[in-house]
């Protein structure tokens, strides 16, 4: 059955699904009329009452709309007025609004509110205003004086949000949120992010390696792979880790009887290919009450003699459905008998974490805000370890919206008894990038133009210092689009074509790379463009380069010191190299055009950059297979493709979008990942784990290809490889198999229950 047939089948199969009467056009018309009167009431309340709290409560008495408002509360990051000025102008739409009230509670300055134009001003008008001179905006964070004051601020923001809903919907509404965010959150049924790990010392015989690519362990006889992280020395959690002797993996199995996914953490001892399962921790033991709690495990760390496991616990026994992120620490000094040592909690579901310099930094997303009443405070202020976060640790942006509150904690892993520091930041978040001194949250916001809001939290030995907020035009393809170096944040972003007319700052630089003529600035540009931004420590713009690669989008990026590399794509793949040494003046050094594109870039060894992506026919745009490329970057202004290897039977690979699924160690000269292929005759779908080495003369060489048994098919994103010494270990949700590297003959195998 080909794709077209199947798509038609899906369409046919749905035709006889009954459409509920509640959404019939007649009923919708009735609903619209009903709401029209409520909207009026709401606006009236807004003017009549100067007391925000009481007007807010009054509006809540309208039962049906209240439910919808709550939905919006959850959905609030949909857009909105990102910049104070925009907020004010949009609110100018609301002819009944009371200026002085806004000023008091939202912190929007008079100057901006008085600028608020006539009734008919729209976002269309405001956007060019806000981005007239800069593609970057930044705002500062502030702390509330008391919980009650904070309540008022939130309530006001909530009303502003509601009032501005009318301006949310426009041509471009949907592109507001980064796809990668969703990917992370949507795959919750599968354990995501699997791979291989580092930063483990302990009683094993080996020195801990810091990271694969910088692994300088002398015991070359027994090197082992570690999690493929974005930044050196900053560990990322995963579902598989090894310390050179033991392999740790989280196993997920769907339980048909309960409808839940049962998860366990396994510890397998390895000895030159032989395997022995020595411990299985049933993670269900963390569930206190099966009827009332539900746990989702995400990833874990190995740190000295600890396993640090991150999960979200949802308690739906109480009315408020409390969701919290839990951090459980197991002591594994005795590998066969792991002991639970400590559980720490923070409000909200698990977003992301890193280990840097012995501290665990954890980000959770508290979104169950309920503003019906000013108390209890826990309805809108997150807690850590059961304690409500103090006002002095809450930092909100001037343009606060009813979105989610990010809770950031730090934990000293040398004495993991309580958090070292905690901050709550009500802002838009989504994805996280962590440099060696700062945590950045970023999310795409959708207004009339696509913007990305970036919030910075500086860290040093566990002490967290929220910094500034910046809003840039365009969206980021994922966390690799960001990089901090010498205090400067470098960003590559794509600005969608439908935004460009409102952005006046398209730098005309001439030549093939850039938009050719300044006269074009007023002409509607039909194509996407790409921009490089450099921000300083205070998140203020120091330099930028815009108008890069019109019509293309950024597919991958990697930074090495003063030089940045990124790939854009339409029919061919220009690999750009950029000189970033002058933060005020980034300049393109060169570009290499080849067919296809790379989704992932990795510095392989001196002067070599590896790309993993897809080969696309330059003329027909047909997909020809996954591709490995090796670029010679010894001269960044003259990058050459040294070798290209096309995996012909391949369809796609998790490696294209999850860097942690790649096993890569240039020192060991090994690259491994899983890909999927489809049989052209039978349409059978098969997974293969494949390993490569790179030879300067011969190029990429496939060293082994391992078919992954069909039972693992449904867990295509749970397959990972690690190597220890001369042996390769491939883990799925059902088993772990060992091989001599380069051989496909299995040596030993353990099955997970």
């Amino acid at each position: 059955m080909n794709e077209q047939d199947l798509m038609k089948k899906i369409s046919d199969a749905t035709k006889d699904i009954p459409i509920p009467d509640s959404i019939s056009p007649e009923n919708m018309k009735r609903m619209l009329e009903e709401h029209a009167s409520e909207w009026n009431t709401f606006e009236n309340n807004n003017t009549i009452s100067k007391d925000k709290t009481s007007s807010f409560n009054k509006s809540n008495t309208i039962g049906k709309r209240n439910r919808i408002i709550r939905r919006f509360t959850a959905a609030a990051c949909v857009v909105l007025c990102l910049v104070g000025g925009v907020t004010a102008i949009q609110l100018g739409n609301n002819k009944n609004r009371n200026e002085s009230t806004y000023d008091m509670t939202s912190g929007i300055s008079n100057e901006e509110t008085s600028d608020a134009g006539a009734e008919e001003s729209t976002t269309e008008k405001t956007d060019p205003e806000s981005f007239k001179d800069e593609l970057v905006y930044h705002t500062s964070l502030q702390s509330p004086s008391s919980y009650d004051a904070y309540y008022n601020t939130l309530s006001t923001a909530f009303q502003e949000y509601y009032n501005s809903i009318a301006t949310i919907t426009n041509d471009d509404i949907a592109v507001y949120e980064s796809f990668e965010t969703d990917k992370e959150s949507l795959n919750y049924k599968y354990s995501e992010n699997f791979s291989i790990e580092d930063s483990v010392s302990s009683d094993t015989r080996l020195e801990p390696t810091t990271n694969l690519s910088t692994d300088t362990a002398e015991s070359t006889s027994k090197q082992f792979s570690s999690t493929n992280t974005q930044e050196k020395n900053i560990d990322e959690g995963d579902i598989i880790k090894t310390d050179g002797t033991y392999i740790y993996k989280v196993i997920s199995k769907f339980n048909n009887e309960t409808g839940h996914t049962d998860q366990s953490l396994t510890i397998t001892e390895t000895d030159n290919g032989s395997l022995k399962l020595i411990a299985t921790i049933d993670l269900q033991e963390l569930v206190k009450d099966k009827e009332k709690e539900y746990l989702n495990f995400y990833e874990f760390y190995l740190y000295k003699n600890y396993i640090v496991l991150m999960y979200t616990k949802r308690d739906y026994s109480s009315e408020n459905n409390i969701t919290e992120t839990n951090i459980v620490i197991y002591d594994i000094k005795d590998r066969a008998n792991p002991k639970r040592k400590k559980i720490l909690t923070q409000s909200g579901y698990y977003e992301s974490s890193r280990i840097s310099d012995g501290f665990l930094y954890t980000v959770s997303n508290f979104s169950e805000t309920n503003l019906d009443t000013p108390t209890p405070y826990t309805n809108y202020i997150p807690s850590v370890n059961g304690k409500t976060i103090e006002c002095s640790n809450i930092y909100y942006p001037r343009n606060i919206m009813m979105t989610t509150t990010y809770v950031v904690t730090s934990l000293d892993l040398s004495k993991p008894t309580d958090f070292t520091d905690t901050k709550a930041i009500p802002t838009n978040g989504g994805q996280t990038y962590v440099s060696d001194s700062s945590i950045y949250f970023f999310t795409t916001l959708y207004d009339n133009v696509t913007k990305t809001e970036i919030t910075k939290v500086h860290y040093n030995k566990g002490i967290l210092t929220p910094g500034e907020n910046a809003i840039i035009a365009g969206y980021l393809y994922d966390s690799f689009a960001l990089n901090e170096y010498n205090g400067h944040l470098r960003i590559v972003a794509t600005i969608p074509s439908n935004n460009i007319t409102v952005l006046r700052e398209i730098t005309p630089l001439g030549g093939e790379l850039m938009l050719e003529d300044s006269a074009q600035q007023d002409v509607e540009i039909k194509e996407d463009i790409n921009v490089i931004y450099i921000l300083d420590r205070d998140m203020k713009l120091t330099g930028k380069l815009s108008g890069i690669a019109p019509g293309e989008q950024i597919y991958s990026a990697r930074f090495m010191g003063d030089i940045g590399y990124f790939v854009t794509f339409r029919n061919v793949d220009p690999l750009f190299s950029v000189d970033l040494s002058d933060p005020t003046n980034p300049t393109i050094l060169g570009q290499l055009k080849i067919p296809g594109f790379s989704n992932y870039l990795h510095f392989y060894e001196d002067g070599l950059l590896m790309g993993l992506g897809e080969e696309i026919d330059e003329y027909t745009s047909d997909f020809l297979g996954l591709k490995l490329s090796m670029f010679d970057i010894s001269n960044p202004s003259d990058v050459k493709e040294q070798d290209k290897y096309i995996i012909e039977d391949s369809e796609f690979s998790e490696a294209q979008y999850n860097h942690k699924s790649i096993m890569i160690d240039p020192q060991k000269n090994i690259v491994g990942f899983v890909y999927c292929s489809m049989d052209n005759v039978t349409y059978d779908y098969n997974n293969y784990y494949v390993t490569y080495t790179y030879d300067k003369e011969k190029g990429f060489i496939e060293t082994a290809k391992y078919p992954i048994p069909e039972t693992s098919l449904s867990e295509y994103n749970s397959i990972r490889g690690v190597y220890i010494g001369d042996y390769l270990y491939i883990a799925t949700n059902t088993d772990l198999t060992s091989y001599k590297i380069g051989s496909t003959e299995p040596i030993s195998k353990v099955y997970f229950k």
Binding site: I17, I165, T167, H260
Partner: protein, 177 residues
């Protein structure tokens, strides 16, 4: 309704005419419902997101700059809302429960064997895959447009779609075997 009529109704709706708005809605609401139902796997939530979409769309239609784009515009609002709803599911056990109920529901309501199988196969996809396949089937977007809506890359969309459809045909093959 031809393109000119659609544009005329959009212009009327922009002036607050709910009759015109509902005429436009009538053109697409079945596809919208199928999209929401399949993406969310739950009837009640599908109805809710559609109501919310209608409310938002009606309030926001005055900002719709290209009347001829009404369909993709309203689908974009809907898919945004579905994405949000899915995010709410994430740590929510109810989703799993409801998913199972949905399967049950499908079985009870629909004796057509093959359609049933296709739907069951669809239910095996993860939420992300459902969203992408739904956008392409019900809203008729191509991979490039889908990539735009989801703010993803065409290649990723294509491979996700391909993976999703492969998963489905795999499942169908097993079922029929």
């Amino acid at each position: 309704m031809n393109q000119e009529e659609i544009i005329a109704h959009v212009l009327l709706a922009k002036n607050g005419n709910s009759d015109s708005f509902c005429k436009l809605y009538e053109l697409y609401y079945k596809d919208m419902y199928h999209f929401a139902y399949y993406t969310l796997g739950n009837q009640q939530d599908a109805e809710d997101v559609i109501s919310e979409t209608v409310l938002d769309a009606f309030k926001g239609i005055r900002n719709l700059k290209k009347p001829e784009k009404f369909k993709s515009w309203i689908f974009q609002i809907l898919s945004t809302k579905c994405k949000r709803q899915i995010a709410v599911y994430i740590s929510n056990r109810e989703h799993l429960k409801e998913n199972n109920e949905t399967e049950q529901l499908i079985q009870d309501d629909h004796p057509y064997a093959e359609h049933l199988d296709v739907r069951k196969a669809f239910s095996k996809l993860n939420d992300n895959e459902k969203m992408i396949v739904s956008l392409m089937v019900f809203a008729g977007y191509n991979s490039r447009e889908t990539a735009k809506i989801l703010n993803s890359q065409e290649g990723t969309i294509r491979s996700t779609k391909s993976r999703a459809l492969t998963k489905m045909s795999q499942y169908l093959k097993e079922e029929f075997a």
